[in-house]
Subunit: 424 residues, 2 copies
């Protein structure tokens, strides 16, 4: 057995960041930016009003004293997208909308709530004096020319896409979303409906792994099921190597499995495959190498469905994230109190206990294992949002703190349930 860190190190070493490409903004969500984008245009591009109100010379708003509110003549109305060619002179004001360009001559905006209608038609009374620059957005107040819009390494969130569009950009140089091929191996696997022949089982792993790929924001490529047939397996691996950035197989990597997957992977990888027994439970057997030719990484996951999922989290996810330019490779780990004791026996392995992580009433982390911890119990694993990391030893008692990997951050407890409003 080798330590988990050694197996992960072996994978990450081979998963160097891949080529970059200019990608349409609307296809770049979640991608990692490959070169800094520096603003060439200020945002906003012109001085504009932050409120609906009246643009004026601030001095005019205070010249009459607190007891004599100043009346100004309204010379125009300026909507967002329009412009006023003239100049606001002394004693004048322009009705102005949020986002509309501040007219020449004006240096402040008095918001609607602080004005009232003048006695004379076409006038406005300023009830509260304003200072220069009030309710005015300066050029470049969001982003100035020369400022960084997105640095190299930025993981593009929705707001970044808008910020890039604000620079007139339609595409951005990123590590593109990887295409990940998923393949199940084994003569015993059956896809789709119909009765099962003796000894046959249904292929759950491919659907689970395609779902995991999709959940990371990667593009899944279904490579199907391949039986224990050397020519067929070779053909599919060639197709995966040509069409995908990485290939994920499940089955055929355990000591007790038929040798066909091992023989073919050994051959197609030009001997780079490493067959590992990792000191973890579940997911002890794991193989990794790169396919000859394009050097496409291939992850050989065990066939047990729970093992395949854990192996995906510990090896495929960090490896493909590194290929995709990510700097944060691993899941967040939090310290939580366990709701039940988690006894185990020393066996030289780290145990990963499938669990629900949630926040208690005081906002503290709590964790509770799901029922069914054997490596074939997929139904129980499906509901887990976390893996408790139990180091080698005798386990922990109820209430003790444990380290927990949050594998499904979308699923956190203490959400507000129902159609009512949130807690404010």
């Amino acid at each position: 057995m080798i330590p988990l860190s050694e197996a992960q190190g072996f994978v990450l070493e081979a998963c160097a960041p891949g080529p970059t490409r200019r990608v349409d903004l609307d296809d770049a969500l979640g991608c990692v930016v490959a070169e800094p984008v520096v603003a060439t245009e200020p945002v906003p591009p012109f001085v504009n009003s932050s409120r609906d109100g009246f643009a004026l010379r601030a001095v005019d708003s205070r010249s009459a004293g607190p007891d004599q509110p100043r009346s100004l003549r309204v010379v125009t109305t300026i909507m967002a997208g329009s412009a006023f060619a003239g100049t606001i002179g002394p004693g004048q004001a322009a009705r102005i909308m949020t986002g509309a360009p501040l007219p020449a001559g004006a240096d402040a905006v008095c918001m609607l709530e602080d004005c009232s209608e003048g006695a004379e038609p076409g006038t406005v009374v300023i009830d509260h004096p304003v200072v220069e620059g009030e309710a005015v957005r300066a050029v470049g107040e969001d982003v100035g020319v020369g400022e960084l819009v997105t640095g190299a390494g930025t993981v593009l969130a929705p707001g970044h896409l808008g910020a890039l569009a604000n620079q007139g950009l339609e595409a951005v140089l990123v590590h593109p979303r990887p295409r990940i091929g998923v393949l199940s191996t084994g003569d015993e696997l059956v896809s789709g409906p119909g009765p099962l022949a003796p000894g046959m089982i249904r292929d759950a792993n491919r659907h689970t792994l395609l779902g995991l790929v999709r959940r990371q924001g990667w593009d899944p490529v279904d490579l199907g099921i391949v039986g224990d047939d050397e020519a067929a397996l070779s053909e599919v691996l060639d197709r995966g190597a040509a069409d995908c950035d990485a290939v994920v197989t499940s089955g055929g990597v355990s000591v007790g499995d038929l040798d066909i997957v091992k023989v073919v992977l050994e051959k197609r990888s030009g001997g780079t495959m490493r067959w590992m027994q990792v000191a973890i439970r579940p997911a002890k057997p794991f193989a990794f190498g790169t396919l000859a030719g394009p050097g496409t990484p291939v992850f050989g996951l065990p066939g047990n469905p729970v093992s395949a999922m854990v192996s995906f989290e510990l090896f495929v996810r960090p490896g493909v994230r590194r290929m995709s330019g990510h700097r944060v490779l691993h899941r967040p780990v939090v310290t939580a109190g366990t709701e039940v004791g988690l006894p185990r026996q020393p066996d030289g392995k780290i145990h990963f206990v499938r669990a629900r992580l949630f926040l208690d009433d005081r906002g503290g982390w709590r964790v509770r294992p799901v029922d069914g911890q054997d490596s074939h119990q997929l139904r129980a694993m499906a509901d887990a949002n976390a893996l408790v990391v139990l180091p080698d030893g005798d386990g922990v008692a109820v209430g003790e703190p444990v380290e927990v990997m949050l594998i499904d951050p979308e699923q956190l407890g203490r959400e507000v349930v129902g159609t009512g409003s949130p807690p404010w």
Copy 2:
């Protein structure tokens, strides 16, 4: 101004769960299951071995006493996917691989590590006695016939897809992934490169909102930019109503905006539009109604990019989640210590402060506002993963606990950075 809860209630009332459809498993990730799926087949479908080792009659492993390890004759080898037609008799064993069917006659498996080669060829010595059922997986140990595979309301995670495939299912009845149209309105908006004419601004909102739609797992539909043109706007709304499950517009809903968006929405919604001033900051102006004919919900978001994003979180996301059958409609809210004071003045509104939420060294929540809190400062908002909820009042001092909505759960602090291994 109306309370946030009233505005949200108005939206949620109109966003009733929509029609359900049978969807391919590989397209159902994240969808909400519409009817319970009960197992019709046991998983695993047959008794099988949980280890590589030797299948035998347990009684044979212990009959010789601790000092006389029992030697058994190996009559066959059983791989996963194969079957043995014969029966294991007294004094016999079968070499068996993980997942392979337990042969008739055998009632336990002695794992490889507890066996050694026999002195005679074709024999195995059982070093440690086993008990009946040891290393054996019973039929239905993952899921038994009649057990629930996924209940109505289950949000499909990757493991659920595998669990459904294990029932021979290729599709599942769900609330399908919604198609959400995104539209920017205003004569001042420009798309793509090229210099900006005076008073014009680039359209950031559409890219941001399309990204937000995609991030929820919904299908984005780009309805483009529509200028202040009644016929063009009507045409696009008709297209959105026909092609989308909901339409999200930005711009044109503030008091100070041109009336064209208001006139057209009023007309196309058959008067169902409600023009709201919500007691929140940012994102005070908000409009909502349903388009006449198909009754497609239309969300009228403000044009300021930060306001549009906050409005999306508070109204669009819970509304569309309700339409999609979700029971958890709102983001998780946690209590965090603030790293800086967050002063504010009473104005009758709840303030949403854009911030980074992270875990400190002891696993506690901490929050720090991003620089640039004005509603046009998109660049700063892009980096926020949370909104601090500041109720009306004078704000909070440094270190005090605040309620925080986690709007980007994928971005949590204390991740392990770099290519090294995680903290175990």
